[in-house]
Each structure stands twice: as C-alpha cells, then as structure tokens.
C-alpha cells in the first residue's frame, strides 16, 4: 500500500502554529511527500530539530524525533547516526539555527560527511524572536535589529556547504514546490551529508520590514528573483540560483568507520606505544 503525507504528519495536530502564509508548512509537506514516495518506515526515521519556528516542525511528525538546543541539531544528529547508521537522520534547521549559531557544526558535519540530510528553512531572519537579522540576511535588508539596513554580508548556504565538502547541495524555494520535493528526495537518497537550502518566506517579519507586505507579495518575490541559470543567481544581490550545486559520491563517515571497527583489534595491536610514556 502506498503511503501518503498523513502517514508522517499527524493530522490531528494541525493547524500548524506558524503564521499565516509562512512557508514552513509547504516544506514540511514536501518532506512528508518525500518520505511517502520513498516508502520510509517511520520507526527508522529520526528527525532532529533545533530552535526557532522551523524547530517546531517535529511537533507535527509521527516519526522519531529529537528536539534539541539552538544550533545543535546537527551535532545531536551526528550522535544518532554514528551509533546507528541504518537510521534515516534528517536535521531541520532554520538559517539562524543551521548556519549562524550552528555554523560550526554545519561545516564540520559536511566535512565529516555524516550521512544526514539537512533541510534548512531559510527565511533570512529570526522569526521566532521577532525578526532579527541572521547569517543569511541579504545586505542591506531591514530587520528588527538592522533598522538602518543590515551591513553584514550573508552566507550563501549552498556555497558554504559545497566548500565544506557536502556531496549533495541544492536550493529550491517554497514557490518552486516540485523542485523542492525532488531535491529533498535526492538529498535523502544521497549517502553522505546532503543539504537543501529552502528559500522561505516570513511575511510577518522579513516581509513587513522589507516592503513585501503579504504572503502573496513574498511568493512573487521568490518567483521574480529565482533563476535556474546558476551563473546569474547571486544571493548577495537578492537573486537566488535554484538547482543542484553538488551531486557526487563520496564515502560517508559511518561507512569508513565501519571498516575501522572491523579491523580495530588487529590495528590496535600494531600501534606503536609512545616511548615517552606520556
């Protein structure tokens, strides 16, 4: 029997607590659709979330979940995955969670190539605390802590992930839902660290501060500024390139570590003792 989104989303817990027009619901639905299409068994799925609006996503899911502290979702997910590599581990983080307070864990999870899928709801600000600027806020946008316009250049999450070694990196928006579903599916299927940077809308704060008053205005903003011509998409100019930026095969941490486990007794015997007796 084929599965549908409500095999993963608990319908009784709806409506979502997110603001009207917030794209988080679209992302969560796309994730559930990907789970259904891949016929994942909920007991083998662990969704790890951090703090922020998107960190509440696990409240609606019937899979296993671990809701942790701000910025630490990938670190906790690393512990889960390292102990049981058979689990599908999905980290849901916002732009604040994933690449600002949690930026160090993000680059190291990518470098280490943990087999985890990171789905980042990137709405360019801290929605839950009232719309302050984050590490991805485009310059010079207005937020509740950059009332004269942000002077800090933003991270390009995809460029960051790719440079740090992630074998799968893609970007979609909550407007381009078919692409979004496809990339999430590809990311889950990829053995290794996979990142989907989802450009999301926050009409309540980011939109309101930046003359994009309604959810529809913001959706149009995504539509108008997204480009599939990767060379034109420059996040620093409010243009978002959407597409797959990395898709390669690399051995992940757990596969490599399993080899060490297999040979450790033998290897251990050959380790040279330290003569200094430290």
């Amino acid at each position: 029997m084929s599965k549908n989104i409500f095999d993963y989303i608990i319908e009784d817990r709806l409506p979502f607590f997110w603001c009207e027009g917030c794209g988080n619901g679209i992302i969560l639905k796309s994730i559930a659709q990907a789970f259904a299409d891949l016929d994942l068994d909920p007991k083998n799925v662990v969704v790890v979330t951090g703090i922020g609006c998107w960190g509440k996503a696990d409240d609606y899911l019937s899979t296993n979940s671990l809701h942790v502290t701000h910025g630490r979702a990938l670190a906790a997910a690393t512990g889960v995955k390292a102990v049981n590599p058979d689990l599908k581990v999905i980290a849901l983080m916002g732009d604040g969670d994933g690449v600002t307070i949690g930026g160090n864990h993000f680059i190291h999870a990518a470098r280490r190539n943990m087999d985890i899928t990171a789905i980042i709801s990137n709405n360019f600000n801290y929605g839950m605390t009232g719309g302050q600027y984050s590490g991805t806020t485009p310059e010079p946008s207005f937020t509740s802590t950059s009332r004269y316009g942000s002077v800090e250049p933003p991270f390009d999450i995809c460029a960051l992930a790719k440079a740090a070694g992630a074998p799968y990196v893609a970007r979609a928006t909550v407007y381009h839902v078919n692409l979004l579903e496809k990339y999430i599916k590809n990311a889950i299927l990829k053995k290794g660290f996979s990142v989907v940077d989802v450009i999301n809308i926050c009409p309540t704060y980011y939109g309101r501060f930046n003359k994009l008053k309604s959810p529809v205005d913001m959706m149009n903003w995504l539509k108008d500024n997204a480009t599939t011509k990767l060379e034109e998409g420059n996040i620093y100019n409010n243009k978002f390139a959407i597409g797959e930026f990395a898709n390669e095969d690399k051995l992940d941490f757990s596969t490599k570590y399993a080899r060490i486990q297999k040979n450790a007794r033998e290897l251990s015997a050959h380790l040279e003792q330290d003569l200094s007796g430290k």
Binding site: E272, L275, G277, K278
Partner: protein
C-alpha cells in the same frame, strides 16, 4: 612526628627525557612485582618538550594516602634547574644523583653523586636512552644503600621495563639499563 614508612623518589629534569616513563617502570615494578603500594605522579608544563618535568614515585608496604613526595629519599636530577630545585632538600639519609655531564653547579645540602649519564647514553646509542641509563644507575645504587631499600629490585625493574617497552626498542633499552647498572656496581 612522621615515621618514615615510605620510600620517596623524585625524578626531575626536562620534558622529553623520558622521566615519566621510568617513574612508571619503578612504580609498576613495586606495585605489580613486589606486592607493595606505589603511587607515581607527574608534574609538567604546557610544553611537551624542553620545559621542566618531574615524576615522583612513593613506595610503601602500607597504604600510600598522600600521593606526592614529602621528604625525598632519592632524587635524580637531569638538568641544572632540577638540581637547583632539590640541592637544599637533601637530608642526611637522602641521596641526590645527577648527570655530571650537564650539571656544573654542584653545591648540595647532602650526599650528591654524579654519573656521566649523557655521555654514556650517547656513546651507547643516543640521548633517547638517557632515561634507561639513569634507571640502571638507580637500580645499582639501591643494591648497596640501605636508605633506599624500598626501591624495587633489579629483577622487578627488568620485568617492568620489558612490559613498558615496545618490541623494537626492548633490546636497546635493556642494554642501556644494564649499562647504567654496571656504572655503579
């Protein structure tokens, strides 16, 4: 006030000389092969090589509660700095052993004996075995001196040394130990 039931050994010098390893060998020899209680402690700075380094061993038939040396019975000094640190702490029953190749200022409050530890090590192999030469000297001294009677025997030390040496260095270390031992006896 304090009845001496402990044999207290200080091995002092420079980080990288392998003093902690010989401290471990002495302690392990006493604890595992002579049925005694032994505690080995160490003190070192943030640099792995070159800075002041010290290893202490306390051996007793009774329980060793306080783990560090209170009144040293035997001090090995392999640098001028460590010699200076202990020269005034050598009582009438204690003994200071030093490397006469490298230590020039030799005033001491008690009995101090110098051996050519560096040149012996270099002649035999290299500075790498400095610690093993020194260990051999200490083993040799303990045979003839009652005040360090608690020091482990030659046989126990040899067993402990073998157990704490990787196979490829075993023969070299044993030779160095033997050479040091013979410098005394």
């Amino acid at each position: 006030m304090f009845l001496k039931t402990r044999t207290e050994i200080v091995l002092a010098g420079v980080g990288g000389q392998g003093l902690i390893l010989i401290g471990k060998i002495i302690g392990e020899a006493a604890a595992l092969f002579e049925g005694k209680n032994a505690v080995q402690t160490q003190s070192y700075g943030v640099a792995s090589r070159g800075g002041f380094s010290k290893s202490e061993v306390v051996i007793s038939d009774e329980e060793v509660a306080y783990p560090e040396v209170l009144e040293p019975d035997l001090v090995l000094a392999l640098s001028q700095q460590s010699y200076d640190m202990y020269r005034s702490k050598i009582g009438k029953d204690s003994l200071l052993i030093f490397d006469s190749d490298t230590i020039e200022q030799r005033e001491c409050s008690g009995k101090a004996i110098g051996y050519q530890i560096t040149s012996t090590a270099v002649n035999l192999h290299s500075m790498k075995i400095l610690n093993m030469i020194a260990l051999g000297i200490l083993a040799g001294l303990s045979v003839s001196r009652a005040n360090i009677a608690g020091f482990p025997s030659y046989d126990s030390l040899k067993k402990s040394l073998e157990q704490n040496t990787p196979a490829q260095y075993k023969n070299l270390n044993l030779e160095a130990f033997e050479t040091g031992y013979k410098l005394v006896n």
